[in-house]
């Protein structure tokens, strides 16, 4: 395994499965069809009266407000709250998938990209509360359909999200209801979005001078040219004078004015607006309204033209009479303030689902998730604001927001007692659930002795209660959150946490959980763990899964090569490099995708050596370079190479092209080779190196003669190898 290339297709079956699993939305768990089949069976045969299969609580726009008030009550009472998310995708491009070759910072960039691009379509929240009377947990699974509707009337970039086709397939496999989500999903605003919206509204209302309110669009005093317009304006002026005079007469105890025409009565309806007489203008075209506005402004000091935006989209137009200049100002201010309040109300209403998250944060509850680093990134980007550039900043703010987080996958893999209980089975959520909580998963109370130690969980949905509940809906966020909570409760009991006596104690501060709290897998693939409390990362502990699978990866020894001729295999790349830099120079060649590879060298110096050699070959462009072993790699002239840092740089871009080579181009990489900065130290070692190189050349010639004697090399290849020797000598003699 050590020297072979690691193309996804060539991975041993176990790894291949994991790769496939990751293309599914979020942590795909094994579909436990066998178990569900067993379940349906148990429904029919089971005689226990407590078995129930009422659905979990689905929350959409229509029942959000009522659900929120009951949920907040449950959250306040909860010992812990389990969460789970369903998204529209995980990786925006194949090369953004998680690899063993992901450095800590690169891994974060990949998670960040995923959380920024994909939408959360379902959010499962399940508060668990210990009932000392029943000696059982009460769970309240909630399944929220969420959808970021653009509800605020401000322009700006359109809300967009990405859908990964494989993830959509996965969702359909589990009967996801897209109509419920897109038609009826609860919308939300992040804190940042809310702040910005409020700021914009406030600045609009502060900046604008009083007399040119939002409702009064500035109309330039264009002279009326059209004869029809002039006549119309004249008639309106007369009409307004009539009304105006009528008002004054009325005040002096005069008689009611008689509108001359029925039609104009409908068009000019006298109403009261904020205790002032006003005309409501109906049935005019926008052009006519503009003319009326012009007339009112030009000829009447005490009439104010207003355009109020009503609840429904069609706005109503008013001409309001004001007593004095002061009264006019007051009216404008009143109108403005009202509009301001209205918009602010709209913004508050648009917060929507974020209220649930805010409540979880303000209650400082223990949050339980399963492999939930990506989930947290989603929560951050959707409900807080743009994700920070570095993992360190992210961890710091998450910890401020959610001080206590437990990851059940982490818990199961790091504790020996639990690992024993898991009996080496997979730590996917559904597998852990069926192993640890068989009484719930199988829906029957068998007399198995092992079940005696099981923590009882009773489910409450609205008024229905069951101690033996199963909705039968796997991979629904609400149900997955419920499973996560059950696994956690059972794990706690296995760790020796006695709920019976600790009911009042805060679970988050239980000493038995202290070594697990706030530890998360940054990447399950290479077992990097991140500690949210300290912000530190460490290698995987306890689990045998991540030990000795690959030689330790040293990122300074890695070169990224892309844009090489298509179809070039890892083995061929390794061969042509080995011929120049020595047979043991290349540790491994790893396909990022079909257009790019990581090459791990045995020594860090080889990185700069390789890049330098490539650069000089491309520069010289003489016949020798055509015969050079690298020619195969450089064919087509589009091969580019750089150190690992460039991979990070490309990962941090917001663009996502499917192929890595296209991505690099889109990011704007124009150079062919990015040489590693040669430090002073390197220059000093050059001499030393060149000496070494001459030696290695002679070694190479020895190699060739060896191989010759075995009759394995074709004459062409020998020429190749000699040329290599020559080129290296030329290069070394330059120094």
């Amino acid at each position: 395994m050590k020297y072979t290339s690691l193309k996804p297709q060539q991975l041993p079956p176990i790894f291949r499965f994991r790769r496939r699993a990751r293309t599914a939305p979020m942590k795909k768990r094994l579909p436990i069809t066998t178990i569900s089949r067993a379940l349906t069976g148990s429904y029919c045969s089971s005689t226990t009266s407590t078995t129930a299969s009422f659905p979990l609580k689905h929350v959409t726009r229509s029942n959000f407000d009522s659900a929120l008030s009951s949920l907040s009550h449950h959250i306040r009472a909860a010992d812990f709250v389990a969460i789970d998310l369903e998204m529209t995708g995980v990786t925006s491009a194949p090369w953004r998938d998680s690899f063993e070759f992901d450095r800590f910072d690169v891994r974060y960039l990949k998670v960040k990209d995923s959380a920024e691009k994909f939408a959360v379509v379902q959010f499962g929240v399940c508060p668990f509360h210990w009932d000392p009377l029943k000696q059982s947990f009460i769970a309240h699974p909630h399944n929220f359909f969420i959808f970021p509707r653009q509800e605020l009337p401000f322009d700006g970039p359109a809300y967009e999200f990405l859908c990964q086709t494989t993830s959509m397939d996965f969702l359909t496999k589990y009967q996801f209801d897209f109509n419920a989500c897109f038609h009826e999903g609860v919308s939300y605003l992040s804190r940042k979005q809310e702040d910005e919206a409020l700021k914009r509204v406030n600045s609009i209302y502060q900046d604008e001078p009083l007399d040119s309110c939002n409702s009064m669009k500035e109309t330039r005093d264009n002279p009326l040219v059209n004869i029809a317009d002039i006549l119309f304006a004249e008639r309106m002026k007369n009409r307004l004078i009539e009304w105006h005079n009528g008002l004054l007469q009325d005040r002096n105890g005069g008689s009611e004015i008689q509108p001359s025409l029925n039609r104009s009565k409908q068009q000019f309806q006298t109403i009261f607006f904020k205790m002032r007489p006003a005309i409501s203008l109906n049935g005019f075209t926008s052009h006519q309204l503009r003319l009326i506005q012009l007339v009112a402004r030009k000829h009447f000091k005490d009439l104010v033209y207003l355009r109020g935006s009503g609840e429904n989209s069609d706005s109503h137009h008013l001409i309001v009479y004001t007593d004095s200049e002061g009264d006019k100002k007051m009216l404008m201010k009143e109108v403005k303030d009202e509009q301001h309040r209205e918009v602010e109300m709209k913004i508050k209403a648009a917060i929507g689902f974020r209220q649930v998250i805010d409540f979880l944060a303000s209650e400082k509850k223990l949050i339980v998730g399963h492999n939930c680093f990506l989930d947290l990134a989603h929560i951050y980007s959707k409900f807080l604001g743009p994700l920070p550039l570095t993992a360190e900043e992210f961890i710091l703010s998450v910890n401020k927001y959610f001080p206590h987080i437990i990851d059940t996958k982490m818990l199961l893999n790091s504790n020996n007692v639990l690992q024993q209980r898991m009996k080496k089975s997979s730590t996917s959520l559904s597998s852990a659930f069926s192993v640890l909580c068989p009484q719930i998963a199988l829906g029957s109370k068998s007399s198995n002795l092992a079940l005696q130690s099981c923590v009882k969980v009773e489910v409450e949905v609205d008024d229905m209660r069951s101690s033996n509940w199963n909705s039968g809906a796997k991979h629904e966020a609400g149900y997955d959150a419920f499973m996560t909570g059950c696994v956690f409760a059972q794990a706690c009991s296995s760790l020796g946490i006695d709920f019976k006596h600790h009911s009042s104690e805060n679970l988050a501060h239980n000493e038995k959980l202290q070594e697990h709290i706030n530890l998360l897998y940054l990447s399950w693939t290479n077992g990097d763990i991140v500690n949210l409390s300290t912000g530190r990362t460490c290698e995987s502990v306890g689990s045998s899964k991540h030990k000795n699978r690959y030689p330790k990866i040293l990122f300074e020894r890695i070169v990224l090569v892309w844009g090489f001729p298509s179809g070039l295999k890892a083995r061929e790349i390794r061969e042509c490099i080995s011929r120049v830099l020595g047979p043991t120079s290349v540790i491994s060649v790893y396909h990022v995708d079909e257009t790019a590879v990581f090459i791990q060298f045995s020594k860090a110096e080889m990185v700069s050596e390789f890049l330098g050699l490539k650069e000089s070959l491309e520069r010289s462009n003489d016949p020798i370079s055509v015969l050079h072993p690298f020619a195969k790699l450089l064919e087509g002239g589009k091969t580019r190479a750089a150190s690992y840092e460039t991979y990070k740089e490309i990962c941090s871009s917001s663009i996502s092209k499917v192929l890595f080579a296209d991505q690099a181009e889109a990011v704007g990489i124009k150079w062919k080779t990015k040489l590693v900065e040669s430090s002073k130290l390197e220059v000093q070692t050059r001499e030393h190196e060149s000496l070494h190189k001459v030696n290695s050349v002679s070694e190479k010639i020895d190699d060739i003669t060896d191989e010759l004697s075995c009759g394995q090399l074709s004459p062409d290849e020998i020429v190749d190898s000699f040329c290599t020797a020559k080129v290296t000598r030329i290069r070394t003699s330059n120094f």
Partner: protein, 623 residues
């Protein structure tokens, strides 16, 4: 396969559609999903071949992400294409409505179909698309119209583009039948290794074959049979027994084929390609007789045809339309055909000329209703089909009736695809007004010639008006577009947020002497404005002033507050380098700061002309 939906919410859809259907007049439209797709194909083919025109309408998951990403009158054909390309590459088509129709007397006889599409990776090879973007506003408005997302995602028809299909063939690794062994290289001397290899394979094949051909073979126990299967490596290929021989090189493939040809006539070799190209193995299928061999080959052929058809999916319809060579009527052709090209033909080429020639091969005649409307003198925003329709109704007498002979899908709730019928109807009316005759279409009447002529008109950039309108005096008929050379256009950004074009113009008016001549200002988005100098050469003067030290007065004040200006070439480089920031100002800044920006603008830019729509200026002001 209708999805079993989990809760009553999904029933809401039916409710929505019902209320809608009461308000709108609806045409019967055949709804096609993957369940009835293959059954409807034959009928569709018949309708297409007997039609005069085919109208198309696409429902996508998004249009443009920021105000300035939208194709505007100030775009040249190149920038317009690149904008459309950007959208076509990111968004997805969810519904594709086609309507083959005939014009007979005063009737439009139409057969509308509405296809529900969804990209599904059916072959597990990352095609047709890895991912796609959705705009929430777009999905929300679709939801308001009663769109059934479940029907679309669960039951949508998948597809592969032409380019993807050829790529898929290689990656699928279907067995390839070998007709004749190329004897050229295999004649060369066999090495010891080769001989050993041949002998080993030969004996393996012999042993395996003997089991089946041995007439004395008795009925074994199931266990023995399965054991033998494992030992011999025997498999079933349909009803025929076969075995797979793994090979390490093309040389070995040749050797195996040679050996098989030399030794037995009843074995048919199939080559199993490796995923990354080359050969993975040779499969040997045992046939019982000469007839059986022929039968087997035919079976393979039909299998391949079937598989190709499955992979093509909806593209079958596109191929039918393309093969029919009928004129295609579209409402927003630049948008529609960039989508069609990228999803069903191949990846979009980098520039507009290549796009047009590539598209022309598949669809030689494209008619844009929008353009035709412009031809009769209506110059206003004609993005809305219904608005255009009512405009025509008010101005012209065009008694064209719709006739849809078929019944449509029985399900009353489904009303999708109405627009394609409206387009057909609109076209029928325009056709009547413009007095085009089918023969004119064929021979190339000037209206059509201009419409078809180099698809440029689909961009609304070069409205071909061979003769100025006869009725120039009538206000509404006057074309408001004024020609502007690109070099007289300047982009201005970095001014105060939420300024109106009028305010900006007022500010500029007193700031420098170049603004004493006639000029116009229009906001592109809230961050950036476009300034047109009606007197040639002034833009250059202005740009020079902006970059010089002598800048003074109010202009200096504005520049010190952050205002920047650049010529049209910078805008071009923004679009061509793909700086799709959400604000044009940010994109322009990026392009200015970019290393690839060359200050001397290409001569091409200077020559191209754009149109200035004073009508649009007002619209943008109202934004």
């Amino acid at each position: 396969m209708s999805p079993k939906l989990k809760h009553p919410l999904s029933r809401m859809r039916c409710f929505c559609s019902k209320t809608l259907s009461q308000n709108h007049r609806k045409y019967p439209i055949n709804q096609v999903t993957k369940t009835n797709f293959s059954d409807s194909l034959e009928e569709i083919q018949k309708r297409i071949s007997s039609s005069d025109f085919i109208a198309v309408f696409l429902q996508n998951t998004g249009s443009f992400s920021s105000p300035w990403h939208r194709v505007s009158p100030f775009d040249t054909s190149d920038t317009a294409y690149l904008k459309a390309k950007y959208a076509a590459e990111r968004f997805q088509i969810l519904q594709f409505a086609i309507c083959p129709f005939k014009l007979q007397a005063s009737k439009v006889i139409a057969y509308p179909y509405n296809f529900h599409l969804f990209p599904r990776d059916e072959l597990k090879i990352g095609m047709p698309s890895y991912s796609f973007t959705c705009q929430t506003s777009c999905l929300t408005s679709m939801a308001k119209e009663g769109f059934d997302f479940n029907a679309c995602i669960y039951d949508g028809i998948s597809y592969l583009s032409k380019a993807q299909e050829s790529a898929a063939k290689v990656r699928l690794g279907n067995p390839i039948a070998v007709d004749h062994v190329t004897k050229s290289s295999s004649a060369s001397a066999l090495s010891v290794a080769d001989t050993v290899f041949i002998e080993r394979i030969k004996s393996r094949v012999k042993h395996w074959k003997s089991v089946y051909t041995d007439s004395s073979a008795k009925i074994d126990e199931a266990l023995v049979r399965s054991l033998r299967k494992i030992v011999l490596g025997s498999e079933q290929c349909g009803t025929r027994p076969c075995m797979t021989i793994d090979v390490c090189s093309e040389r070995q493939v040749q050797l195996v084929l040679q050996m098989l040809e030399d030794h037995s006539g009843d074995l048919v070799p199939l080559i199993i390609p490796a995923k990354g190209g080359g050969t993975q193995a040779v499969r040997v299928v045992l046939t019982s007789s000469e007839e059986d061999r022929g039968l087997f080959r035919r079976e393979l052929e039909t299998l391949e045809v079937e598989q190709n058809r499955r992979a093509r999916g909806f593209r079958e319809v596109i191929d039918l339309i393309s093969a029919s060579q009928k004129p295609i009527v579209s409402h927003n052709s630049l948008n529609d055909f960039t989508f069609i090209h990228s999803k069903f033909l191949a990846a979009l080429p980098p520039n507009v000329d290549e796009f047009i020639s590539s598209l022309h091969l598949a669809f030689p005649q494209v008619l844009d209703v929008n353009h035709l409307v412009k031809d009769i003198g209506l110059v206003r925003k004609t993005t809305n089909i219904s608005a255009t329709m009512s405009y025509l109704k008010n101005r012209f007498f065009a008694p064209i009736a719709m006739e849809i002979p078929h019944q449509g899908t029985e399900n009353e709730d489904k009303i999708h695809g109405q627009n394609v019928v409206k387009i057909s109807h609109l076209f029928g009316k325009l056709y009547f007004i413009l007095k085009m005759t089918p023969s004119a279409i064929q021979s190339g009447d000037h209206h059509l010639a201009s419409a078809i002529h180099g698809h440029a008109n689909i961009f609304n950039i070069k409205p071909s008006r061979p003769q100025e309108a006869i009725d120039e005096d009538i206000n509404i008929w006057t074309n408001n577009a004024r020609k502007v050379s690109c070099k007289d256009v300047v982009f201005l950004w970095g001014f105060k947020d939420r300024i109106s074009a009028g305010m900006l113009k007022d500010q500029l008016q007193g700031s420098h002497e170049v603004f004493t001549e006639a000029f116009d200002v229009k906001l592109v988005d809230r961050s950036c404005a476009i300034v047109v100098f009606w007197q040639p050469g002034l833009s250059e003067t202005f740009l020079n002033v902006m970059n010089s030290k002598e800048i003074s007065g109010p202009l200096r004040e504005m520049v010190s507050e952050g205002m920047k200006a650049a010529g049209y070439d910078i805008y071009k480089s923004v679009v061509s380098s793909g700086f799709w920031e959400s604000l044009l100002a940010d994109a322009l800044d990026k392009a200015l700061g970019g290393p690839n920006y060359v200050s001397d603008s290409d001569s091409e830019t200077k020559q191209s002309e754009i149109y200035w729509f004073s009508e649009l200026m007002i619209n943008l002001d109202e934004l």
